[in-house]
Point group: C2
Chain length 321, copies 2
């Protein structure tokens, strides 16, 4: 029987989304489980296995599926292992490809979640036809996938493209997960946005804000978004500050690989112009003239979960029989 389907799995810091994809890139089935519920990765994979069974049966059983493609933070394409991912609950080195193969009895391949999203975007989304672009995922963390000369940059060891951990503000904000100071992720992630909001509230006791209607411990990026949408000045300024940092970082990335476009992806992009405008302004401001007004700053054209599922599933078609 021809193996005409691939499973695509995107492991995020909070949730895992998965789907069954055909050769044309149509996602036939989608599902999601929590990435945080099980401390033992084996238990997590068991739940994933059970969640996928009905869909696998529906497409004609495991024998119709060529393999599993997995996108995960710090997922190493070369080794098939997730290595020391600060935003996942499983610490150390997780041989995820091997565990998947053992559980599902089909081959598995792994890459960085943002690399997977970049491939999805290149095949089916806003980067279709582009040979040089950077994908930035703005979610619980900040990830990235870099395409140059039409190929993902994996680097010497498979770990290229950790732009969320580049340092933007020397001696800046502490990142709880990594212990680093001033990294992009500590500002431009959903976590960073919530942190900035709390910082503003504390630093400016005199400034009124809708954010003050919430107990401090309940302030998250969604609350900031809701308040900004209602015109709250402080919440809007949280996005302006976030865009300033993100824009400075993007300018540095442009001077590295001079991409045709930067594609922003993930939960934070729901904020639309609230985040896009200040980001673009500060990116341009920090670029050498030869780079100015050239780089397209775009939102992903794929549904948030789809790009990563599609990109991860694309790994499968390259698997050896």
């Amino acid at each position: 029987m021809e193996k005409e389907y691939a499973i695509g799995i995107d492991i995020g810091g909070t949730n895992t989304v998965f789907g069954i994809v055909d050769h044309r890139g149509d996602t036939l089935y989608r599902g999601a489980i929590s990435s945080r519920k099980y401390e033992q990765v084996e238990d997590y994979i068991q739940e994933l296995y059970e969640a996928l069974q009905p869909a696998i049966d529906q497409v004609g059983g495991i024998q119709t599926i060529k393999g599993i493609g997995v996108g995960a933070p710090n997922g190493n394409y070369y080794s098939g292992m997730i290595e020391y991912a600060p935003n996942l609950i499983w610490k150390g080195v997780i041989p995820i490809s091997r565990l998947m193969t053992e559980k599902f009895s089909i081959p598995a391949a792994l890459t960085n979640d943002a690399n997977a999203a970049a491939v999805g975007e290149m095949m089916y989304g806003a980067a279709k036809g582009m040979k040089d672009f950077i994908m930035i995922t703005l979610g619980t963390g900040v990830g990235s996938g870099i395409v140059a000369n039409g190929h993902l940059i994996y680097g010497h060891d498979g770990f290229a493209g950790e732009l969320g951990h580049t340092m933007i503000i020397p001696n800046g904000r502490l990142h709880q997960g990594t212990g680093m100071h001033g990294s992009l992720e500590s500002y431009a992630s959903a976590t960073g946005v919530a942190y900035t909001a709390k910082e503003f509230l504390e630093q400016r006791p005199e400034q009124p804000s809708l954010l003050r209607n919430y107990p401090v411990e309940e302030i998250n990026s969604k609350v900031v978004y809701d308040c900004a949408k209602q015109g709250d000045a402080m919440a809007i300024e949280v996005y302006e500050f976030t865009g300033e940092i993100l824009g400075m970082a993007l300018a540095n990335f442009v001077m590295f690989s001079s991409p045709e476009a930067i594609i922003l992806f993930g939960g934070m992009t729901k904020a639309g112009d609230l985040i896009l405008k200040p980001t673009r302004e500060h990116m341009e401001k920090n670029l050498l003239p030869i780079f100015q007004n050239k780089v397209k700053l775009l939102f992903s054209e794929l549904k948030e979960s789809d790009a990563a599922i599609l990109g991860a599933s694309a790994l499968v078609w390259d698997l050896k029989e």
Copy 2:
């Protein structure tokens, strides 16, 4: 007659070095002229033409030479033009490939000077056999050439690899040439080192230093080097400060493309461990654990002028007849 030679030309901010290279990478002839003497680029090319004539005659005339490869700051591989190079005296857009071809009557190709050096290093130097490395040139300015998957990253428009202009210190030191604040080049270039020394002298009127034996306007990177070699504490600290900034920058670059090695090249590397030790220390300190103690930080193994000449000449072998 077989065209068995190539001319390699490296245009630096201060000097231009050139040579005639054979297929094996042996440089048969070397020479140099000033890059600053002529405000009109045509006059500069005339002097270059005259300086090369004796060597061209020696190898059997222009008919034995396949073409000219040029490395220059902001040299664009795609267009053959030098575009708005802040460290050259010719402003705007200079169609250097066309001017060379018109003068010498043989084909010419252009790339970024640091890209040329990277190719030279990959073919004949410390990066031999490497597929992923970054070349950083520390001279009058700071340039870079990035190799990933065995190929130079040119980017969408040919301008990739301007790492000297990435911003390391927000609102930091003003770069006179670009008007940008806090870029790597404003600290880690020869110009930056001299500036740091002057800043230290002014900020610490009470601290004795050999640097005080020089009139302020005569302090340059060579003076700082000489004083540091004699054990002068302030001059040594100038290198420590420079290495701190450079190390932070290199950490960011590693998290971008995860290279096997970073090769340092150019006049500043004469300082040896004075610059290498603090750079390595601060690079490691700013890396995520998955990147630590993996990246080789090396000095170029080629003579300063040779890598760029060899790399530039290598462009010629790919030229269409």
